[in-house]
């Protein structure tokens, strides 16, 4: 064991500690670490029940607009199962939490990419996902998943939700603002 190895070892320890700390921060913010296998976990946990999975990032201006839309839709359709995944890093948890809170999405199931080898995480979702955002997976009760890349059309999105949310959960009358839904 020479000095170089000792130094490397200390770096490894620091890295392990770092990962642990960052994971702890993410959980503190209600953010689950999205790692290898997380995509499968999200999908299997739903066992064919309809849900919307959305990927977004702090650095994507269009994503903000869609998060705002999703926040409104979630208030309007409380039965909507919405999973929100940030492709940023656990170290950015405070900023991510702020944005989610701002759009009333902090009560959803929220995740953050927890592996800087992001290509591999994306490949588990779709081999031909190169990082474009926002990205929506609309998984219907019929087992079909529709993928939307870029901003979702609000009308389309709402139509999908109405068609795929449990009828009892859909409010009879819907206000324009969505805030009284």
């Amino acid at each position: 064991m020479n000095r170089r190895n000792a130094r490397r070892l200390s770096l490894v320890f620091a890295a392990v500690l770092l990962v642990g700390l960052q994971a702890a921060f993410s959980w503190a913010a209600g953010l689950k670490p999205f790692d290898r296998g997380s995509y499968k976990e999200i999908v299997t946990a739903r066992s064919g029940k309809p849900f919307i999975l959305v990927f977004w990032s702090l650095t994507c201006p269009y994503c903000r607009e869609d998060l705002s839309l999703l926040g409104n839709l979630r208030r309007k359709y409380p039965g909507l199962d919405l999973v929100v995944v940030s492709t940023d890093s656990p170290g950015e948890a405070p900023a991510i939490a702020e944005v989610l809170r701002e759009h009333s999405l902090d009560g959803c199931e929220t995740w953050v990419f927890a592996d800087p080898f992001s290509e591999r995480l994306r490949a588990e979702v779709d081999l031909t996902w190169y990082g474009e955002l926002p990205r929506f997976h609309l998984s219907g009760g019929d087992g079909k998943t529709r993928v939307v890349i870029g901003r979702a059309d609000p009308g389309d999105l709402e139509a999908w939700i109405r068609a795929n949310t449990a009828p009892g959960k859909i409010p009879a009358a819907v206000g324009n603002s969505g805030r009284n839904g």
Binding site: A14, F25, L58, T59, P61, P94, S104, D106
Partner: protein, 426 residues
């Protein structure tokens, strides 16, 4: 070559120390952030300063970005972010050993080095030019920063902000070029027109492309000039100089309502915007995937880019032998099903190189294809380097005679891989 021996001081910017410090800082602040587990009930609006504070903390994340360039004598220079400083190192033996890194900015600041952001470095006639984007407290805001060293990289000038609009908005994604006359060109994506439109209740598509020129060797920059309205917001731009010294810029533009293909322009004061790619990719979103440009000693323009167009996403190459007047049909390279991405192109004249990232099983690899006839025909791709962990974008650089892959990876550190050997086949 043994990549393990090529670890250099700069690559230690990846070492967790600054990250750890940042994390501890975040940990210290986390308890201060009230994080309700409440459902989507209405909440009172939170002060912008909370949001800005959280954003500022997020800027301290570590960066894999190491940018490298050769000087005319074959010296290899790198710019990398270590904590809140830009560090420049030099190697006289192609990356085997390195000079101690020199701090560019004496005053700490947040330097963007994630995704499409990276510091830039060019060395000409023993002057070192660097530019970067400083992240500001408001989300997605930044300033374009520049510094130079006139003593061979021993000391750097106090950084200056190149953007003359000083609102705390987005001036980001800087790109740097030095032309044959020693004039320094900086271009970037600028939201000033978008915010001005917003203030009077109008909509503005995308962002604007701005540039500024220094005619005094980087002591100061002239007024900012708008090159184009409606560029795509967060894709890096590329500038290279033509053989006559004219800078040429390539960027992802928004054509029509939301077609995010590419445009180019010669910055000669009279040329107009030329459409450089025709993928017809309609997307109301962020590709986070800018183009690459190379202009060889023969004056041929080489373009490489990504498109996500439905049905045939992937990376493409085209060439123009008449300054963009006519552009060849786009040629696909890389395997889209292997997530082929981050295309680079470098021309040495007849020999032209493309490099890109792919996923191969559990590894990220850099694949390289070589043309021996100026980009008309291409060799089968081969793997030039591989890593099992996180990695920076691959870069192609030249010392004027040979081409190299420059790549920083979490596991191996910085690597300079010569591409000439074994390249003779077609």
């Amino acid at each position: 070559m043994n990549p393990g021996t090529h670890r250099q001081p700069v690559a230690r910017s990846l070492a967790p120390r600054p990250t750890l410090a940042a994390s501890v800082l975040i940990a210290a602040f986390l308890p201060l952030l009230p994080i309700p587990a409440a459902d989507g009930a209405d909440k009172p609006p939170r002060p912008a300063r909370d949001r800005d504070k959280a954003w500022s903390e997020s800027l301290a994340k570590p960066s894999f970005a190491v940018t490298a360039a050769f000087d005319e004598r074959g010296g290899l220079w790198t710019a990398a972010i270590r904590g809140r400083h830009l560090h420049v190192s030099r190697s006289d033996d192609k990356g085997v050993s390195w000079s101690p890194p020199v701090k560019v900015n004496a005053e700490p600041e947040d330097i963007l080095g994630d995704g499409e952001n990276r510091p830039k470095i060019i060395v000409r006639k023993e002057t070192v030019y660097v530019s970067w984007t400083q992240g500001l407290a408001k989300p997605m805001s930044g300033d374009i920063r520049f510094s130079r060293s006139v003593d061979g990289g021993k000391t750097f000038s106090t950084p200056i902000s190149v953007n003359d609009n000083r609102e705390q908005i987005s001036h980001r994604f800087d790109e740097l070029a030095v032309d044959g006359r020693g004039r320094i060109h900086v271009a970037w994506l600028d939201k000033r027109d978008s915010f001005a439109a917003e203030k009077i209740g109008q909509k503005y598509k995308g962002t604007a492309l701005y540039a500024a020129v220094s005619v005094d060797g980087g002591a100061s920059f002239g007024p900012n000039v708008k090159l184009a309205d409606h560029a795509c917001e967060c894709c890096r731009v590329a500038i290279r100089t033509d053989t006559d010294g004219t800078p040429v810029i390539l960027w992802r533009h928004i054509f029509g309502k939301n077609v995010r293909d590419h445009a180019m322009m010669r910055l000669d004061g009279k040329s107009r915007i030329i459409r450089a790619s025709y993928d017809d990719w309609h997307v109301d979103g962020c590709p986070h995937h800018g183009p690459a440009l190379s202009i060889g000693p023969d004056g041929v323009y080489h373009f490489a880019w990504f498109t996500g167009v439905g049905g045939r996403p992937g990376i493409f190459y085209a060439r123009s032998a008449d300054g963009g007047g006519t552009i060849s049909p786009a040629v696909r390279f890389g395997r889209p099903e292997a997530q082929a991405s981050r295309p680079q192109v470098l021309s040495l004249g007849a020999r032209v190189f493309t490099a890109w990232k792919e996923l191969e099983g559990e590894a990220a690899v850099v694949r390289v294809a070589i043309s021996q006839d100026g980009g008309r025909r291409w060799s089968d791709p081969r793997t030039a380097a591989s890593t099992s962990g996180a990695s920076d974008y691959p870069l192609l650089i030249t010392n004027g005679r040979e081409a190299f892959l420059s790549w920083n990876t979490a596991a191996e550190g910085y690597r300079l891989v010569p591409l000439a050997r074994g390249a003779a086949h077609e």
